[in-house]
Subunit: 349 residues, 4 copies
């Protein structure tokens, strides 16, 4: 049993972490840090948690966290985790950051996309990007600080990586048309999250390569190929709560049989517990992964336009955030990688 | 480990049973009976189940079920379970029927409401109505055949029972205004279940005491009070998938302080693992129980009109169907009553 | 052609007024008053209005409004219209207030329910409650100031009035179970209007006779019967944008044939252009009135519990607000009562 | 006043035609042909139409239609209009087909995509493709038979045409990522249209250039460019009723300033009453056109990947079907092109 805390426990990612961690056999939640609800019992802030936890919300105090926790999850608006993490690491507390503070390796890239300096550039170096399927599980296991990937990068990368690795696509012409449920934008109020503005509506946002998940995806792809790649990522907002689907258009760089491509994916993901590759002719849909840590993937080859089209989908709050963080925790503490995640069976319908 | 089967495995209640039972530590699913998909793997019919089960669909054959199972769940349109259950019981297989075939004790009442004869009136006698909170756990534990309650009756009865038992309301004037998500009507196609007819729409249906759950509720209340009671139940269809909420209007028969009423409920449900009574001022909402076996209850006393208003809500597929069936199974087989149900933490948002 | 203005033009009721008035043959919109968007073109604030109006938002300045307008619609949070209306009336501008400031005739009742003094109690006297179907069209035609009814009172009263007028129900035992789409709560941001808190969710709110539309309904019923009546109104929030449905439970005070009741309603509403009474066996649903000024009504007699159950529904933004205001304007200015409202045909699906 | 009829009056496109035509000043609806509801009043089949029309459904009988109508709209499953249209034309009745029967000029293409022979290949020649913005209004005005465009082709073509015409994009690399509400699939029941399968879900379908609207789009583009073009069209199903949005990825073939591109579009659509081009920085959303005949268009230039990204959206039942048909009718009968369409102001929210 390890003791864990959550900084940002009352956001949507925070309460999803609580849902998952409260059922995890190796973990005890001892700290629920919150900016806005200090002193209130969690079950009062969120009555759906009433039966679960007698935890009350505590302040975002790194010293106090360090006294009580072996591991802290930080699920905070960007720029905030970087004020807690250095202290936590110094005190020997491992950290998994579900925000963006440690994802971009290049400080100047961070500054360009987030419009302020990364507070602790020296930590960017040591932070391990926590996408287990990227093939660096040993690094994750040895990490003190994990940068938990964003939801769009997780879903996009899992959909494209085998094809990129196999060198069968023109990596510089990737189009990623991405669609997300509203919970991906968090609990903050804005006119864009008002029910009447979202229901029975659909729109693109931050079009033209300006979404901050763009450099994160490009960093993954550059690491894989060794050369810089610009991707065209267009996020859209779906009138639903959970679920993220990416339609990736990957121009083929050579003649290759569709079956052969499917085999490439099947081999790449043969031992991945949370990737489910669909047989040809079946396509995934977000409802098939709702509430679970799965990433479901379907492949189509359009021979008329010589493109591989990959449909990948995840629950943005699970594999796109809290579930992937638990998966990383399992690796860091040498639990079974799937502990606490397998009972999260998709809630369908 | 007991071996269980499901007749009607590919309906919405069936796949919810599979979600629950596949994570239950004392159970192995060995039979998935289906009318329409015999021979097909479950994971092909429902790709969200692809990682779970290598079960293929089998025919609705009682002899075959009896060979393989200790317990059968029947989740079939009314009139069908009664063709399987007699054989199953005879062969020593326990049964939990999630349909309506064994809920009404009085054969003539069944005939009146369902427009055909109950096939095995002698079984109506021995069937135990499986609402554990009604206070007959011993009967459930000893039962061979459980009539699992309907979703409206479960939510209505749990909301009203303590007040009726305490004799503080005019039981003959109960108004139950009930609202359900669409999954309560099952997977059958009808113009009423078409997305475009339900989304951004709201309606009442089967108004005026004609819904078949009416006599089931009245049977519970009559059993509690000893005299016949007519309730006014009005079902409505909500533009959402899961969730059922009942607003019960209970005219008070005497002066009584609101706090006293709250205590009556608190005492009645003090040891109930799946009832969550809210403090005054907080009201439940269906999202708070989504995916879980909880019934959440809030109380309001309207002193101007001298009414107790009870808001109760459940996930119609869990406490209103599959979850309650698992709870009954746990009792029948002397497992812990909450086994396999506690990790079903509400999926919020 | 009259010149009209809207104070509160950028709220949901305001933009609905613009949708209706911009197509009205006898009206020119000349003033769009807004608190938050002064100086911005309406088509920039709301791109769906881009083709319509070159109006820019003006401040909430009564003197300026009076210079330009023959009629002002005030669609503001309660307490604000009362600061504009006295000046407007004094300057000879007619007013239709879509808020609550002038609905309650009794100043002490207003104070009790709204927790502050009505600013101009002398105006309460002269304000005419603008529910045309209540039978006081002459008063509306002669009014200088209309208090446009609330959405719940409109739908509740239209459902109950003929039965109350006919003296066939126990008026003191009326239960009104009311359900509304989210647009009824306006555009203001709150955690309760966040998409993730509303979608796939259902809840009651302000239960126990505490919703401010309660005294408004009671005032209508008292005016009809001559004695005070307490109604039990329970509002609920539907996961949809538009639409309001009331299920009214009306205990019958005498034996009366269902057909006779239907005739009472048919006669009462024979000449009403916006009431559509359904034949027995058909029930209305909110989608049938979406975008239109209709109130659809269905009747059921539950002979087991001796209740008349009335289902009435409206589009809360049209007959529940902007449409009814236009209907009142038509009466005040002696246009045809249906001008500008008939082309608003229900948008289905 | 002309007399019009609708074959397929009880489908979703049919009832939308009735909504529009019933408010059209130059038109009387005299024939409502239906396969499944012959003899029933429309207001009984669809209670939302109760106030509108005393029309009853008539059989799909071309002789009878020809006796009564000057113009027939056929809104039928593919393969059915072609059995009525030859007779109608012969009897001098003009026709607007909202199905697919006359859209593809090349009979072999039709056969390839629809898997059966076009019944009247000689009519393919004379049918005019009714996309007014394509620039052949004179042909439409003189046509006896209009092939009303599909919803995806309308939205895709309107988004891409100015850029293609200006020769600034690599037309052979167009990616069209398209998303539609459920009403686009019509009223037919299928497991895919069940509310529980669509709500809180998102999926792609008919991926890989196999959707039948693909050759229709390619035909438009080929006509514009003079050479065959393969487009990559991926349709997706949105959990909403109305609305269609296309995200078009158009690789630029040359260096060109973003402002210059915007001007190209502004010029191309300067006189189009139903196209609304957004200023840079504003993006359209489907709610902005709901219920209206507008096509809203926004442009983004992604300089990193050298692509023009066009977001276009329509209401699939209006500009994507019934509204465009009325626009075509207005042209054919020399009414004002916008008659009966301008009062259809977007219903927002």
């Amino acid at each position: 049993m390890i003791k864990v805390g959550i900084a940002g426990a009352t956001g949507y990612v925070g309460i999803e972490l609580i849902r998952l961690l409260s059922q995890h056999s190796e973990v005890e939640i001892v700290y629920a840090g919150s900016q806005s609800h200090v002193g209130r019992p969690l079950g009062e802030v969120y009555p759906h948690l009433r039966s679960l936890s007698h935890l009350a919300c505590s302040p975002l105090d790194a010293i106090e966290m360090a006294k009580q926790c072996d591991l802290m999850f930080t699920a905070l608006p960007h720029g905030q985790a970087m004020t807690l993490v250095p202290t936590l690491l110094e005190k020997g507390v491992k950290c998994i950051d579900l925000g963006a503070d440690f994802r971009l390796k290049d400080p100047s890239s961070y500054e360009k996309w987030y419009h302020h300096l990364p507070a602790c550039p020296q930590l960017l170096e040591s932070a391990v990007y926590g996408l287990p399927e990227l093939g660096k599980r040993t690094e994750i296991q040895n990490a003190k600080l994990i940068a938990n990937p964003g939801c769009y990068p997780t879903c996009s990368a899992l959909g494209c990586m085998p094809a990129i690795a196999a060198g069968i696509i023109k990596a510089e012409e990737i189009v990623l048309d991405a669609k997300s449920g509203v919970s991906g934008a968090g609990k903050a109020l804005s006119s864009g999250s008002h029910f009447c503005e979202v229901a029975e509506n659909f729109k693109a946002y931050q079009v033209g390569g300006i979404h901050r998940h763009t450099p994160e995806i490009e960093q993954i792809f550059e690491e894989m190929t060794g050369y810089p790649i610009f991707v065209s990522l267009t996020p859209h907002l779906l009138p639903m709560v959970r679920g993220l689907l990416v339609t990736a258009y990957l121009p083929l760089s050579k003649e290759i049989a569709a079956e052969k491509i499917w085999e490439i994916y099947a081999n790449a993901y043969a031992n991945e517990p949370f990737i489910r590759l669909y047989p040809f002719g079946q396509l995934p849909q977000t409802a098939n992964v709702r509430g679970s840590n799965y990433c479901d993937i379907g492949l189509i080859v359009d021979e008329r336009t010589k493109k591989l089209i990959v449909i990948s989908c995840i629950d943005n709050l699970v594999k796109g955030a809290a579930g992937q963080a638990v998966q990383n925790m399992n690796l860091m503490f040498h639990f079974n990688e799937t502990t606490g995640l397998t009972h999260l069976y998709p809630v369908y319908p």
